[in-house]
């Protein structure tokens, strides 16, 4: 959670310093800039110190938090050798990874 906040803050400050007076585009809808729509693209742009990519990285880290929580419960059920629940947890985790990666 702190990493998410840190990324968003860093990107946000960078963005506001560079574009404080710029107009924000909020309507009509145009899909976000292509690299900001995949994990690899966000990492590449962030390496180039792109402000929007750092903010987006913070957003993605926040999305990973529920995933981490599912992973924690998965480990909990594995320790107890509760295989039905390990299977259910894997199903949930798989769906989450599918949503984000595919």
């Amino acid at each position: 959670m702190l990493a998410s906040i840190a990324c968003v803050l860093f990107g946000g400050v960078l963005y506001l310093v560079r574009h404080a007076g710029a107009r924000v585009h909020v309507a009509p809808f145009e899909p976000a800039h292509e690299p900001l729509r995949s994990l690899g693209g966000i990492a590449r742009e962030a390496a180039r110190l792109d402000a929007a990519a750092w903010m987006q990285a913070g957003v993605v880290l926040l999305i990973l938090m529920p995933m981490a929580r599912v992973l924690t419960t998965l480990v909990f059920f594995m320790r107890r050798r509760d295989w039905v629940f390990v299977g259910l947890g894997l199903l949930v985790l798989g769906a989450l990874i599918f949503g984000l990666a595919v």
Binding site: A53, L91, F98
Partner: protein, 278 residues
């Protein structure tokens, strides 16, 4: 509007939305979407994406505070998550096929339902001590802390609960809300879990449901960092403050005022959808 003014307005707006959302049980998304669309003129497609981010922030911020208290039933949560996550992926897929007015109408209906359920308050359902066959096999029964010590409870009607959860997942992904109202309904009315267990377990699941659909939104370009970044900051702060305040506040009057605001927003969203404002 210039970038810094917009950033600060969204920051304050999402903090307020998530604070009030967590206090009233309506969730951050129900308030943030109308705020972005009707007040700040943000396109509905961006607003739904940002609202899902607020939902995850609310769930994460609140869980960080509630988790230790022993109310959340993780086994029930995991079983039902299978259904909500499947529903969320389907809902996110459908959202790409239908037009904005349809989404606005679905959103408004969800708002009206949430407002009504919130006004009605906690139900007088008495939890049963017994579980039916499937719940027993999955060992879903548990106990929760009460004033008189640990109170055991049973779980019934898992398949009906799963069906409702699937619907909650679809709605969550379509309208960009947590649909905690349906989740709590499924757990306390249908599966007979104690109210406090239902609400905390629902909160535990809401973030997972939203995370399932938000990936699809990300690929579709609906997660705009210039809008979502202030939502992350505001949302986390608002929900953490909300979770700390909740045990100390009488929320009845807050709920009434809030339900009225939400109904008003729903009516306006509906009107805009019908006259073609989107």
């Amino acid at each position: 509007m210039d970038a810094s003014t917009f950033f600060i307005l969204v920051l304050i707006g999402s903090a307020a939305a998530c604070l009030l959302g967590s206090l009233t049980g309506l969730g951050g998304g129900a308030v943030l979407t109308p705020l972005l669309v009707l007040v700040l003129g943000v396109d509905l497609r961006y607003a739904i994406g940002a609202s899902l981010i607020a939902v995850i922030a609310t769930s994460s911020g609140a869980t960080a505070t509630f988790a230790r208290e022993g109310f959340t039933n993780i086994r029930v949560g995991v079983v039902l998550e299978v259904a909500t996550v499947a529903g969320a992926l389907l809902g996110a897929y459908i959202a790409g096929l239908v037009d904005k007015s349809t989404i606005a109408i679905v959103f408004s209906i969800a708002l009206f339902w949430s407002a009504w359920a919130t006004l009605r308050g906690a139900p007088p359902v008495v939890p049963t001590g017994e579980s039916d066959a499937l719940a027993t096999r999955l060992r879903l029964a548990s106990s929760h802390p009460t004033h008189g010590g640990s109170q055991p409870y049973g779980v019934v009607r898992v398949p009906s609960g799963l069906a409702l959860m699937f619907g909650a997942g679809v709605l969550s992904a379509l309208a960009g809300i947590g649909s905690g109202v349906i989740k709590v309904l499924a757990m306390d009315r249908v599966m007979r879990l104690p109210f406090k267990v239902s609400t905390t377990t629902s909160n535990f699941m809401i973030g997972v449901t939203a995370a399932a659909s938000v990936g699809v939104y990300l690929h579709r370009g609906q997660i705009e960092p210039r809008i979502c970044a202030p939502v992350v900051l505001g949302g986390l702060v608002g929900s953490m403050v909300g979770a700390r305040l909740l045990p100390r506040l009488r929320t009845r009057w807050l709920r009434v005022i809030f339900a009225i605001v939400v109904i008003g927003a729903g009516v306006e969203m509906c009107r805009k959808a019908i006259v073609g404002g989107f």
